[in-house]
């Protein structure tokens, strides 16, 4: 299959992820959106890597997977801290500092 298909899919994934972060007010869904964004980037990286016959893209994808895991760990920990304080992860209610 041509690389273009994969690129289109990767861009769609990226857009869904972006929309998830920007539009949904639940912090958990926003976290999932971020994962989708990263996966979109990964898929594009792999598609290019296959097309060019170059291994660097594959290695980069592994590094991104590891980074995504580290990010999820820190993100969930912060989410737990937020939930402990106010029994909700709704971002619209996180307004202590709005003036």
């Amino acid at each position: 299959m041509p690389t273009t298909y994969y690129l289109v899919l990767s861009f769609v994934l990226f857009l869904i992820g972006t929309a998830g972060v920007l539009l949904r007010r639940n912090a958990l869904i926003a976290l999932m959106g971020i994962e989708l964004q990263l996966n979109g980037g990964n898929l594009a990286m792999l598609a290019f890597s296959r097309e060019l016959g170059d291994l660097k893209g594959h290695v980069f994808a592994f590094i991104i997977i590891a980074l995504a895991a580290a990010e999820a760990a820190v993100g969930l920990a912060i989410l737990v801290a937020l939930f402990r304080g106010r029994q909700t992860v709704n971002l619209d209610e996180a307004t202590l500092m709005k003036r």
Binding site: L7, S10, F14, G17, T18, V21, A27, A30, L31, I34, Q37, L38, G40, G41, N42, A44, M45, A47, F48, S49, E51, L52, D54, K56, G57, V59, F60, I63, I64, L67, A70, E71, V74, G75, A77, I78, L79, A81, L82, R84, G85, R86, L91, A94, L96, M97, R99
Partner: protein, 490 residues
Amino acid sequence: MSFDATQLFAYAPMLILIGMGCLILLAETFAQGASRAGLAWLGIAGCVGALIAIVAGWAGAAEPTTHFQGMLVVDRMALFLDGTFVAAALLTLLFAPPYLREQGFEFGEFYAMVLFATAGMVMVIHATHLVSLLIGIETMSLAAYVLTGCWRRSLRSAEGAIKYFLMGAFATGFLVYGMAMVYGTTGGELSYAGIASKVPQATKSPLFYLGEYFILVALGFKVAAVPFHMWAPDAYEGAPTPVTGFMAAGVKAAAFGAIVRLLGSAFASPLLVFDFTGWASVLAVLAAATMTLGNLAAIRQDNVKRLLAYSSISHAGYLLIGVVASGLGVASAKPAVLFYLASYTFTTLGAFGVVAWIGNRSDERLYVDDWAGVGTARPAVALAMTLFLLSLGGVPPTGGFFGKFYLFRAAMESPQLHWLVVVAVVNSMVSVYYYLRVVVSMYFRDSTRALAPTEGATMRLGLLLTAIAVVLLGIFPGTVVEWAGSIALK
């Protein structure tokens, strides 16, 4: 391809920081109560060790040398900023212990995270490859998210951390996608030099521009440039105050270092700089918007911490002018940016240090009115704060004045940027207004309630050191800019 372990010696500062961070994590498990204070000293020792390693490496770095198959580079620009980051970490470790003890969350992990974040910053500034850039940015950012949210008793801390984390991770999404686009369109290049060599072919595809601008958007988030700044005021206000200083100074300086290096090598081709779609014109508009919006928002703030947060946004705007000027070929712009980063780092850390000093567990005293009477009660601290605020406003004889002076002079050399200099000068005059509000409150108004600041010997030492640094940068700017200037000669 072989691995030569002796290359590691060139990165001794980073390795010392990481090693000491791990040591603190180990020691923390055995630490009880009072012995936690010793953990901060371990961190300080690590910073001093890293500073010695930087000074030792300075002479050998006159010519840039790359290591690890072009992943990392050692040059004077990197070492200059390394010194700035490590100094920022050192000062944070001086300010933090009394503050953490007062607020009741003194954990060894805090000091370890400061060191890990600093190691990330060092990696960012040495990176000449998209992989090392990504790893450096993430190491720095993840540690910064944790530091923002580590104040367990405070709801604001968790709230600031979640906003910082979501926006930061969102930016990472853009960074990764942008890198994938650049990788594909350049035919498999990830190193800055490789990308630069393939730009003429790569620009045939619009995807390359998409990748380039996605990477710039991600770095724009990290420096809190308008319109990617919305996380900054909340994250800065929510974070423990010493961390706010560290983020506003170190994280921002590292991201600026990355921008300067990336735009100066990978995206330096005239095909990408000029024209309406080139990054020079885009960043010039962003610079004007960042300064203006940051200042306008700061004027309306009564909370000193938030005021300084918005002021740090406007400083990102001034710095962008230097980045644009350097892209347009002004040779003196890069040293000017580096000098500005150094003076801004010390000034910001000092200002947030005073904000950390003034409050206590039950009364944070964050509002401008709460600062009334500090001038008579504690003249030395009031004098230091006045110095920091004047330096932020760009009033002589402080480091901040010369920072702005060098930056604007560099921008004046490019006729296309004259309008931007006018905007910047008007902005810095406006900014003096809100900085002076705090000074007026300290000196000319009577205190309503007694001052009970967070005392601590290390905090006093930190304030003294930052004040001396700001004054020295104002008295001997030529020497420092020469260190920075030796960088610009390639």
